[in-house]
């Protein structure tokens, strides 16, 4: 079967919204200690893939294993960085509080936040260059700083696999450099990151591997071999019309004619 050292192996994963499949039969084996870009056009199911991996949305079929275990068993080893727009930034917490949330899982039920945890999250904030902003309410941060707060929250989890949903969306150049630096640091520590990425120009520069996705896996592998014009054309060449039609039929079948 799968390589036991692989941080993530996906088998035959199909995800459907209202029974319309948005991801078809995904098979993927993530390499260890690599930075992987998930690349594909809008509506290709990139965010959906990440959410399905984390059991945030139900999967129609398929099997997902992290480090040869189920997600439940390996939760501590996986960190998730959601899209910045998914939360209410007016919420009354400081940047420091948000980062500390990454440690709640380790702290466990009922336990109050310890001083050690606070120190640890402050260190993570320092790593993303926001130590001076720890006491700020999160709406007073710029978009890039908010993204770095999210990143710091994932860092304190000290996971082995990082799943990031568009961390580079709408951030300034300084943040982008910080994130890239951190990602490379993580890889140096033998950790893996799967990053939903939009900017094709920087794939070569930032990432080792690429997963080309458009409702299905177009190609996956090292950037040097996979990230070529031919594969990109297949990825961005529009949806497969027939795939869509059959998906639509599946939706209709459950409905009155």
């Amino acid at each position: 079967m799968s390589d036991p050292s692989s941080p993530l192996s996906v088998h035959d994963l199909t995800v459907a919204y209202q029974r319309q499949p948005v991801l078809w039969n995904i098979d993927y084996e993530a390499p260890a200690a690599r930075l992987v870009a998930i690349v594909g056009p809008n509506g290709a199911g990139k965010s959906t893939l990440i959410k399905a991996l984390l059991d945030l949305i139900p999967r129609a079929t398929g099997e997902v294993q992290f480090f040869s275990q189920t997600y439940q068993q390996s939760r501590q080893r996986v960190a998730y960085v959601p899209q910045r727009t998914t939360v209410d930034w007016d919420f009354p917490v400081t940047a420091h509080d948000v980062v500390t949330m990454g440690l709640y899982g380790r702290l466990g039920w009922f336990r109050p936040v310890t001083r050690a945890a606070k120190r640890e999250s402050l260190e993570a904030l320092e790593r993303v260059g926001l130590a001076d902003f720890a006491k700020r309410q999160i709406s007073q941060l710029s978009g890039g700083q908010q993204q770095r707060v999210f990143l710091a929250r994932a860092l304190v989890q000290q996971a082995d696999l990082y799943l990031m949903d568009e961390p580079f969306a709408g951030v300034d150049a300084a943040t982008e450099r910080t994130i890239v630096g951190l990602l490379q640091g993580l890889r140096g520590e033998g950790k893996t990151a799967l990053v939903v990425h939009h900017d094709l120009q920087t794939v070569n520069e930032y990432f080792d591997d690429v997963l080309l996705l458009n409702m299905r896996v177009i190609a996956a592998g090292p950037v040097a071999t996979v990230f070529n014009a031919e594969n990109l054309k297949r990825t961005y060449g529009g949806k497969l019309a027939l795939l869509d039609q059959v998906g639509h039929q599946m939706v209709l079948a459950g409905r009155p004619q």
């Binding site: 945030l56 009354p92 949330m101 001076d132």
Partner: protein, 469 residues
Amino acid sequence: MDPFLFLESLTLAETEWARVLLLRDYNTRIVLCGTMILGVASGVVGALMLLRKRALVADVASHAALPGIGAAYLIMEAIRPDSGRWLPGLLLGATVSASCGLLFAQGMRHIRRIKEDAALAITLSLFFGMGVVLLTWIQSLPTGHAAGLNEFIFGKAAALLASDITGIAIAAVIAVSVVALLRKEFCLLCFDAEYAHAGGWPVTGLDLLLTALVIVITVVGMQSVGLLLVVALMVLPPTAARFWTDRFDPLVWFSGGFGGAAAALGVLLSALVPKFAAGAVIVLSGTFLFALSFLFGSQRGLWWRYRAMSAAQRQIAIDDLLRACYEILEPQLGSIEELTEKPLTQAALLETHRWSPKRLRPLLHRAELADLLRRDSQGNWRLTADGRRAAIQAVRYHRLCELYLIHYADVPLLGADRTADAFEHSLRPEILEQLEAMLEAQSPRFSVPANPHAATETVARTPRPEAVS
């Protein structure tokens, strides 16, 4: 009114005041105690509901509790006549039916066409209708005296008994300690439920627990302040507290404090003025606290924000004026010291900036008052020493921003000037420091960075947008 009569009434009332305020009255003590405990608990739970963006769920819960009260009454009467108003039984009935109501609303989420607000509204009307049907039926029964049941709709705060307080206190202690124990879990749930789910926290379970707390508080609160007013106690304190703090824990505890304060204020007022119904006065006290917070709250209070905004606008206007002065004089200057020596005409000022004469005059006046500008004997304006310093500062700031925009933000040069106007006043000091360091190499003419427009004059002239389009 005759002033003497008025004074007399005051002295007469004094004894009454003292009696109330010193809590000599047993009844007032009981009511005060009960409603304050309730206020604190509902404030704490309400804060979480507000942050979970479900402020009005309590409204639905309280309406949905009504049929349970009627049904419990009927069942208890059927089992043993005249036992229908046994309070624990009624409360149990209310709890069960409020839970059913909220589960029902939850179940409606599976219908894609019915959104959450509609689901809540339908639940509210259906259960409330059932409650009204049951209560009116009970009222019409020859044996039924529904007087005790109507209290659940309109409350009976003034008639709370010591035994009622026990129930309220138990519910409050449960609610507050659950929140205290699960403080970080609830914070995570309210802030980012999806992340909590990914982290393995039982989001649905936590939501259910929170809803259960709401139901418990609603049900015990209904009998003291009434069906609708308990909702107010869950909504008003947290919204008021939000204007005082930007942190989670203080918000929750402030909210509890506001709830307690509103209750205390309301009870004392209603004890002072005999006709004031306690429940309504408690809520209005809450409203008063809310209004106070809305206007003067330290974090988002309207007054402070208005003050800050108008102060900022004044500063911006003065900066713009000084910059205009500098820019008019700049071509004539041999050295920066000469700034104070050259005269400025009002006409020249009107020309450089798009001020109307009506706006410019008070602005000049204000600058004069601040000792930044002065009028010479010919009626022309001159910068003072202070004015010179401020003008240099403003120009330096402005040009730094312009350079920043040109170099780093991909803003085209012709638009830079206008954008910088709006931008410089909201630039953070730390960024500014970086900029100054980065742009030191630009070899400033005096102590301000050179005008970027002058440096790239030829480039700027050719691609005029109107010429292109």
